[in-house]
């Protein structure tokens, strides 16, 4: 088990190296640079800036420097947010993104699994139809529509909840962004769960369990659920990595001070280091969650064991 984890972590190093290299050069292929602003700078200033940030060096030298800094955990200065390094920006924003992301993940997971199971048990009933229709809407309506509608209803019209901001981080402030962030994922989980559950309920071992006269609850919760959770678990990795590293859309609609926005802002402003920092961050999350999911698989599915 431990050697499996260590092997997986070791294989992450070349993956990250490739991610860093590709994104470094892809960023540089984009025209313009971090200092080409709507309000253009005079050439002298541009020259001074490029020199100050080492952007006047040959590209390969910049790449080597960057690589050596990254190895030391230094993602460099942000070209846009001058008062902070990329490390500082991520350190400041990540806790907010993780807290909101975890809440949304829990909501999506519990809500999705419950709704999917419920629908599967009453297959082709009106409830099933309702759950599936709502989840189709959840998947297809983008969160830049859901977010504003939620604030309009609950903050502007009803005035029950704040319209945005982190405030003191209490649930009051987080409910709306949490729902908007969770909804599409909740819908995916519900659909996955329903499909897997229906399949599981028709499996041979369930029929056997029923034939033994086991109580329905035991059959569903201990036996069917366990098999049905497998697709959920595989989807969990990309979903968790996505939710925990923040969403640019949700963060800007609800003014959440997370890291999700940095990828978009960085890309638009050619903030090379900020983009690279967020790309590496997301890559790390994906790698870690894939590992976690593989371990979970081992627990759920007796056919998969990590020796």
């Amino acid at each position: 088990m431990i050697s499996f984890i260590l092997r997986r972590l070791a294989s992450a190093v070349p993956t990250l190296f490739i991610v860093v290299t590709i994104s470094f050069f892809m960023m540089r292929f984009a025209p313009g640079g971090p200092f080409n602003l709507e309000r253009p700078l005079p050439p002298q200033t541009m020259e001074n800036l490029n020199r100050a940030y080492g952007l006047d060096l040959p590209l390969w030298e910049q790449y080597l420097r960057y690589l050596s800094n990254v190895v030391h955990g230094d993602f460099g200065p942000s070209y846009v947010y001058r008062d902070n390094t990329v490390d500082q920006l991520i350190a400041m924003g990540l806790p907010y993104s993780i807290k909101l992301g975890l809440l949304a993940l829990l909501l999506a997971l519990i809500g999705g699994v419950a709704a999917g199971t419920y629908a599967a048990l009453r297959q082709n009933s009106l409830t099933d139809l309702l759950v599936m229709s709502v989840s189709t809407v959840g998947v297809t309506v983008p969160n830049f529509v859901v977010g504003p509608v939620l604030t309009l209803v609950f903050a502007v019209i009803l005035a029950w909840l704040p319209a945005g901001g982190w405030g003191d981080g209490s649930l009051r402030f987080l409910i709306l962004p949490m729902i908007a962030l969770a909804l599409p994922q909740l819908a995916v989980f519900a659909r996955l769960m329903r499909g897997a559950m229906i399949e599981a309920l028709h499996a041979d071992h369930i029929r056997t369990a029923r034939a033994y006269g086991l109580p329905a609850r035991t059959v569903i919760v201990t036996h069917a659920m366990r098999a049905a959770l497998l697709p959920i678990v595989s989807y969990l990795a990309p979903c968790a990595a996505g939710l925990l590293t923040g969403s640019a859309v949700i963060e800007s609609i609800f003014s959440i001070p997370g890291v999700g926005r940095y990828f978009v802002i960085g890309a638009i402003n050619r903030d090379y280091t900020l983009v690279m920092g967020t790309v590496v961050l997301i890559a790390i999350f994906v790698i870690v969650f894939n590992l976690v999911v593989d371990l979970l698989y081992g627990l759920l599915d007796p056919r998969v064991r990590h020796e």
């Binding site: 313009g32 640079g33 959440i256």
Partner: protein, 531 residues
């Protein structure tokens, strides 16, 4: 029993009183600020959402008052030598930093040197180029101690300029010219901008900064005019999503909100009436023509294209009145300049303009019966710019039968293309004044201006008038030269001004002391909130 109930009541009352007390006692302004400041370092800032915060924190030698008029700031008075080259500023005896130490002439010298030091790479270093040797220092051609800024004693600052600069006092109110506590920057290095470290000399000091969430300023009791600062606290919210910001205003979470989407204007006017402020800015929206090659090297083509653009349509239909039609290069609102020089077709009706445009285009040999007119409009990606470009393409198609294609790039790519001599026929650009003087607009089109003369326009008369204006010491004669220059520019139309930008604000009725002004200056120290 009775007494215990009374005690309980008293306790309850006290709890309620103390819980509510802060909101009664404190005068807090909640300010929506259209985006996260990229820095609180006055020498790296370049945009107005940073300016709003920095000018609440720091006080320059001069400043704009609530109505946008230049008044003494940290300097209580100044004198100008007869030759117009040496300014002597007297810094207020009671001007202090938020740590209690005095604001000295040396702090200003330090800040100005830092701004021009090539190692700082200040975004707006050029704003202080009128100071003697500033440009050479910034280019690394002279050591920084050669800058024309000198502390005569602790409270006397002498600034020398390269040549008489009539708008120098305006420049000194720019955020790049704000002072820095020399002691604090030398001690803290790049961290001097962090909350708990930042030392400021303005009406407020920095209390808290959570990036992308809020930035809190509290009243600076050390400020010389603290007695007249009514607010105890200003909280800036960096709201990039304009629609989200409006919703927060509607939910009563903001007193002031800066910039909202133009298409919201009719609805917001209906809902909030006088709380909607539409204030013409010193900012233009224009198209530039590449005069290096055919057909744009022909003045008749440029004039015809400019005339065929229905500016009223752009302003009223696309921007819903959030921008206004513009026919001059310089937007109205610069007091020293007076009425700008409009293009000669400005007073005609749009139909007459189109007839004349068609005639001019025929004369030039393009359009129906002549050479085909193939044009490309370049603009930076933005829904409004796209609507404008589509409308203009349509106007040129219907008037001249032109073939018009649209190309859009993101902001960085668009401007780097224009500045790096990329070929084009027509391209969108904008300019917002750095200081309220006509020269700030007219200097863009001087043929030696390698950065901003996107049109690559070369006009000897224009260049000569501008050169003369720099040497002219008599203010009236100088303004006359600038007017003549603008008249040539508008006749030649290497640039076609279309719109004046408006600053859009939502200002709650609870806010007192708010005045719209073309300089878009709204220092929180002049504001107060009633509950």
């Amino acid at each position: 029993m009775t007494s215990s109930i009374t005690t309980l009541r008293a306790l309850l009352a006290a709890t309620i009183f103390f819980a509510a007390a802060p909101s009664w006692a404190e005068n807090v302004l909640y300010r929506g600020n259209a985006g996260e400041p990229t820095t609180l370092d006055q020498h790296h800032t370049s945009i107005n959402i940073e300016e709003f915060i920095l000018k609440d924190l720091y006080e320059g030698l001069t400043l704009y008052d609530a109505k946008g008029v230049i008044v003494p700031g940290a300097a209580e008075s100044w004198t100008l030598s007869k030759d117009g080259l040496t300014y002597t500023f007297k810094i207020r005896e009671n001007a202090k930093w938020s740590d209690g130490s005095p604001v000295t002439a040396e702090d200003f010298v330090f800040s100005f040197r830092r701004a021009e030091d090539p190692k700082t790479a200040a975004a707006y270093a050029n704003i202080l180029y009128p100071i003697k040797n500033a440009e050479k220092v910034n280019k690394g051609e002279l050591p920084i101690d050669q800058l024309g800024a000198r502390a005569i004693d602790a409270k006397t600052l002498e600034l020398t300029v390269e040549r008489p600069t009539p708008f120098f006092l305006e420049l000194l109110a720019h955020q790049t010219a704000l002072p820095l506590s020399k002691a604090s920057v030398e001690k803290n290095g790049a961290d001097f901008v962090k909350p708990g470290v930042l030392v400021s000399n303005g009406a407020f000091k920095l209390a808290e900064h959570v990036a992308n969430d809020h930035l809190t300023l509290v009243k600076n009791p050390e400020h010389w005019d603290a007695a007249n600062t009514k607010l105890d606290k200003v909280i800036f919210y960096p709201l990039e999503d304009q629609a989200a910001a409006v919703r927060r205003y509607e939910a009563g979470e903001l007193h002031v909100d800066y910039n909202f989407s133009a298409d919201q204007l009719p609805r917001l006017r209906q809902q909030f009436g006088g709380e909607v402020h539409v204030s013409p800015a010193l900012a233009t929206y224009y198209y530039t023509f590449d005069t290096r090659s055919e057909p744009m090297n022909d003045v008749r083509v440029r004039r015809a294209l400019s005339m065929a653009v229905d500016r009223d349509f752009l302003a009223n239909e696309i921007y819903k009145g959030a921008q206004q039609p513009l026919y001059s290069w310089i937007p109205p609102g610069i007091a020293s300049y007076g009425t700008p020089e409009k293009a000669d077709f400005a007073d005609k009706g749009q139909l007459d303009r189109e007839d004349e445009a068609l005639k001019l285009m025929k004369e030039a040999g393009y359009g129906e019966g002549g050479k085909p007119l193939t044009l490309e409009i370049r603009y930076n990606t933005n829904p409004n710019h796209e609507r404008v470009a589509t409308a203009i393409a349509d106007m040129w198609k219907t008037t001249f039968g032109a073939q018009v294609s649209l190309v859009n790039l993101d902001v960085s790519s668009h401007y780097s293309y224009l500045q790096q001599d990329g070929k084009y026929s027509a391209a969108r650009a904008g300019w917002t004044a750095d200081y309220a003087d006509a020269e700030n607009f007219l200097s863009l089109n001087i043929s030696t201006n390698k950065t901003f003369n996107y049109a690559h326009w070369k006009n000897a008369d224009y260049d000569a008038l501008m050169a003369k204006s720099y040497d002219e010491q008599n203010p009236e004669a100088r303004q006359k030269l600038l007017h003549q220059a603008e008249a040539i520019l508008m006749k030649e139309q290497p640039v076609a001004p279309f719109l004046v930008n408006n600053d859009l604000w939502l200002v709650s009725k609870k806010v007192q002391g708010w005045y719209d002004n073309a300089n878009n200056q709204h220092l929180s120290r002049f504001l107060s909130v009633s509950n």
